[in-house]
């Protein structure tokens, strides 16, 4: 699900069965119908969105669920935001500057920002937000970025100076966090009772929408903020309806009871919505989501320690076939872990075509030959190459991937079983203790290309994210350099090199980036697909006067 305002919280979470990881995106698809027929923007109308789960609370810094962050992103604002190309852009800060050593970061704040209750937003609120985030009493799940800060000062009401001990590449990104109102929250933050504060049910923010009501389990209603510093958004009212059933959401969409879904399934996109009435009422879009699916090796397994075996796997797998069979063509080949279309991405890496003969030759080179003519390759002691492909239960896509790969491996003489395990048990019993041979899993990419936790050799512990057990000193050095520089042109070089090495080393076979497949009611104009998806300019969406459906509000 694309986050409403590409909120700059880092995300590298493993994608679980149902746990959808944020999917922001790149280039728009040509199939999307033209929505930008010229017409005059108009205020008004209600935008209805379905959400599968209720929000956890209305101070999104304390929550980790998708819905809270979507709603929170409209009520609250950060100092910076991401623009349509996923670059950092000014929000409540008009500008920011680094000192040459990357240790001092200074934000200049806009002077015209007001909280929804009329109080002016100043540097004090920024300092307060920082202090709240690092306060051990604050149960915020994501505070790493703030713990690296040395101190934050407000030399005047519209200047914030942040200092770091070590250069931190994601420093600016950190400050895209939801700014909290000091005048309303100070006592609660100090007492560690933020969760019980009125703010958690009646939030006051600085964002484009004001909170109107939250009926738990039913809906959240927001209204346009007429005093928003970038101008009042056109859509007057936003309703998040909680609909816990995926099937019901789709029916509501067909009956035009909701105006937007963040992602259709492949089947819905290419078959079930392909009828004239739906095409008239909705525009469908398509762009690569931020998470990729891979086949990961356990590099501690001596068989996979040999790069030739890994390369053989890469040649044995037909990615095109996977994308057609599993995603109905609605995905793009992945050749590395960086999202295509972002500044750190490069395509100039080794590609591995589907070539079973080459795979067999590589296996033979590595000592795996069919010595007894049974169709399965054996090592020199006559031990056959057998393995188990493991993935989590309840994810149909991954199950199909495992089945197709099983067939392809058989062609090159490798005997694979498939085991599907319930998500929690899968992570706890197999992935964390590294008791696997190969796994099919997904990984989300954050807005920043830093993937230190996934590839650095120091991150191979049981609770850490380097699960293949990959270790390459050159990559380690590049990751360290990449994360401690604040100069993008320098960082680009590091990340391009990392992608080259990863594509050569093949700690995993990168399979594909799924496409996000949102649908938006066609009466909504101004939707403009970009690398960041479609929600980046949400405040500019509008419904022409003649097409408005909901007059009241």
């Amino acid at each position: 699900m694309p986050r409403r305002r590409a909120r700059v919280r880092s995300l590298l979470a493993l994608i679980g069965g149902l746990a959808l990881v944020t999917g922001c995106n790149t280039s728009a698809d040509t199939r999307a119908e033209d929505t930008s027929t010229p017409s005059t923007p108009a205020y008004g109308d209600t935008f209805i969105q379905a959400s599968i789960g209720d929000i956890g609370g209305l101070i999104p810094s304390l929550t980790s669920d998708q819905s809270s962050h979507e709603v929170g992103g409209l009520i609250y604002d950060g100092l910076i935001k991401l623009d349509k190309d996923l670059n950092m852009a000014p929000a409540m800060a008009e500008s920011w500057t680094y000192s040459p050593d990357c240790l001092d970061l200074t934000f200049k704040l806009r002077k015209d920002v007001k909280w929804h209750d009329g109080h002016p937003f100043t540097a004090d609120d920024v300092v307060f937000t920082y202090q709240t985030m690092i306060n051990p009493k604050t149960p915020a799940p994501f505070k790493e970025g703030f713990l690296l800060v040395k101190d934050v000062q407000a030399p005047d009401p519209y200047t914030v100076r942040v200092r770091y001990d070590k250069p931190y590449a994601r420093a600016v990104e950190t400050w895209g966090t939801y700014m909290l109102p000091k005048h309303l929250l100070q006592s609660f933050a100090e007492a560690g009772t933020l969760r019980e504060s009125p703010q958690n049910s009646q939030p006051i923010g600085t964002g484009p929408y004001r909170f109107q009501e939250w009926k738990p389990g039913e809906k959240v209603v927001l209204t346009a903020n007429p005093d928003y510093y970038e101008g009042r958004p056109y859509l007057s009212r936003i309703v998040y309806r909680v609909i816990p059933s995926q099937a019901t959401i789709f029916l509501e969409l067909k009956a035009q009871g909701v105006d937007y879904v963040s992602t259709l399934t492949g089947m819905q996109y290419s078959r079930q919505t392909e009828y004239p009435a739906f095409r008239k009422a909705f525009n469908k879009f398509r762009y690569p989501a931020s998470d990729y699916t891979f086949l990961g090796f356990n590099l501690r397994d001596p068989r996979f320690a040999d790069r030739r075996v890994r390369e053989a796997f890469a040649h044995a797998i037909n990615k095109e076939e996977l994308i057609d069979g599993v995603r109905l063509g609605l995905a793009r080949e992945a050749n590395g872990p960086i999202r295509p279309g972002t500044w750190a991405y490069t395509d100039k890496v080794e590609h591995y075509d589907y070539d079973p003969e080459k795979a067999k030759a590589l296996l033979a080179e590595a000592g795996w030959k069919d010595r007894n003519g049974d169709g399965v390759v054996e090592d020199k002691d006559g031990k056959p190459f057998t393995l188990t492909i493991r993935t989590n239960q309840g994810n149909d896509e991954r199950k199909k991937i495992a089945e197709i790969i099983q067939q392809r491996l058989k062609e090159v003489g490798i005997n694979a079983d498939i085991q599907l395990i319930e998500w929690a048990a899968f992570i706890k019993e197999f992935v964390k203790p590294r008791r696997f041979e190969v796994v099919v899993l997904g990984l989300g990419t954050g807005t920043d290309p830093d993937q230190f936790v996934v590839w650095h050799s120091s991150q191979r512990g049981p609770d850490q994210m380097n699960r293949t057990g990959y270790a390459n000193p050159e990559v380690d050095a590049l990751l360290e350099a990449g994360r401690s520089s604040c100069v993008q042109s320098e960082r680009v070089r590091y990340y391009h090199r990392i992608q080259e090495i990863l594509a050569h080393d093949l700690p995993m076979v990168f399979l594909y980036f799924r496409d996000a497949l949102p649908a938006v009611a066609s009466r909504i104009h101004g939707v403009s697909p970009a690398p960041a998806g479609i929600l980046h300019n949400f405040n500019e969406w509008y419904v022409p006067k003649t097409q408005q459906r909901y007059t009241s509000g």
């Binding site: 919280r9 880092s10 995300l11 590298l12 979470a13 493993l14 679980g16 746990a19 209600t46 209805i48 209720d54 929000i55 956890g56 609370g57 209305l58 101070i59 304390l62 929550t63 980790s64 051990p136 009493k137 149960p139 915020a140 799940p141 994501f142 505070k143 790493e144 970025g145 713990l147 560690g192 969760r195 019980e196 958690n200 049910s201 009926k215 738990p216 389990g217 039913e218 309703v239 309806r241 909680v242 609909i243 816990p244 059933s245 099937a247 019901t248 029916l251 509501e252 067909k254 009956a255 009871g257 929690a424 992570i427 936790v453 996934v454 850490q464 994210m465 909901y550 009241s552 509000g553």
Partner: protein, 330 residues
């Protein structure tokens, strides 16, 4: 009778405590804790947040201490606050969901009883007739149909194809702006599908029960007698047979009382109705102990009360039991 009720009431106190203790232990022993859901599988999540919350929720203490603390507060009707990030009081969370579920279930129950009694009576008095066979088939089809499937079919037909009824939710989004009568109609039209689906499934058991009970009664001697003295068939059935056949039904009704607040998870999820069923399932899945326990206490209390009510009403409507009891005590 009063003494009997009082004794039963006293006895249910230790029973209730026992129930809560077992529930508390069971939910605490279930794999995973509330924090596995609050702090996600994410490299950027801070581990110390987890420890801090364990302390705050008191989950670091031994389980019997935790239970004792919970019990001390629970007797004062303080069920604490939810573990979820909204941190709202348990009673508020339950309170905002209870009315919907109760309302829906009462209507459902009324419709089920209203339909099942005549269906049962008619098929009993016309045993093995065409009518009996048709209703039997109808009722069993209802019993065997998965309700989520039926719900989806009806939603597609009436919601998407014909557009006569809303698909999900309880009210339209512009409800506040509608005139009074349209508001009522709007609410009613949202209820039609969930109630139809729920009653269709519930009809079978009840009508079969009614039929069975009626079949037994019409074979009794006093029904023969009533017929023999020349009463019309209608009077025989309604006055002599039905009244007696309804006795066991009263018990079932009373025992169905706790079910009134339970709510059906499937129907609530598919029709997006924010009721008790959803709350209970969500809190179990997220190991939100305070909400789970609050819910359980209510259900357990109602079950005990319902048992008591069933026993008492049974005595009230059936003189045999009433007098039998009195003789026993003498």
């Amino acid at each position: 009778m009063a003494l009997f009720a009082f004794r039963r009431l006293l006895l249910s106190i230790p029973l209730l405590i026992g129930i809560t203790f077992v529930s508390y232990v069971v939910i605490s022993l279930a794999p995973g804790g509330p924090l596995d859901f609050l702090t996600p599988e994410d490299p950027n999540a801070s581990p110390e947040v987890k420890e801090r919350l364990i302390k705050e929720f008191g989950l670091d203490r031994p389980i019997h201490v935790q239970y004792w603390e919970w019990l001390k507060r629970a007797v004062r009707l303080d069920f604490g606050r939810s573990f979820l990030p909204d941190g709202r009081p348990v009673l508020v969370k339950i309170g905002e969901r209870l009315p919907v579920t109760l309302f829906l279930n009462l209507i459902e129950m009324a419709i089920i009883v209203g339909l099942a009694v005549p269906i049962g009576v008619l098929s009993a008095t016309r045993q093995y007739s065409l009518y009996d066979k048709i209703t039997t088939i109808f009722v069993f089809v209802g019993f065997a149909t998965p309700d989520f499937w039926l719900a989806l079919l009806l939603m597609i037909l009436f919601g998407v194809q014909l557009g006569w009824l809303p698909i999900s939710g309880l009210r339209s989004l512009n409800w506040e702006y509608l005139p009074f009568w349209q508001q009522q109609w709007d609410f009613f039209s949202h209820l039609v599908l969930p109630i139809v689906v729920a009653t269709f499934g519930g009809l079978a058991g009840f009508s079969r029960y009614m039929r069975q009970s009626m079949l037994e009664v019409v074979r009794q001697d006093y029904v023969q007698t009533a017929r023999a003295k020349g009463l019309s068939e209608g009077t025989v059935i309604s006055k002599h047979a039905l009244r007696n056949a309804l006795l066991p039904v009263v018990t079932i009704l009373a025992l169905a009382l706790p079910g009134l607040i339970g709510g059906s998870v499937i129907i609530e999820s598919i029709f997006a109705i924010p009721g008790m069923g959803q709350l209970m399932v969500q809190s179990v899945f997220s190991r939100d102990y305070p909400v789970v326990m609050g819910n359980l206490v209510i259900v357990a209390t109602l079950t005990l009360v319902a048992n008591l009510v069933a026993d008492i009403t049974y005595g009230l409507v059936d003189p045999r039991i009433r007098f039998g009891g009195r003789r026993g005590r003498r």
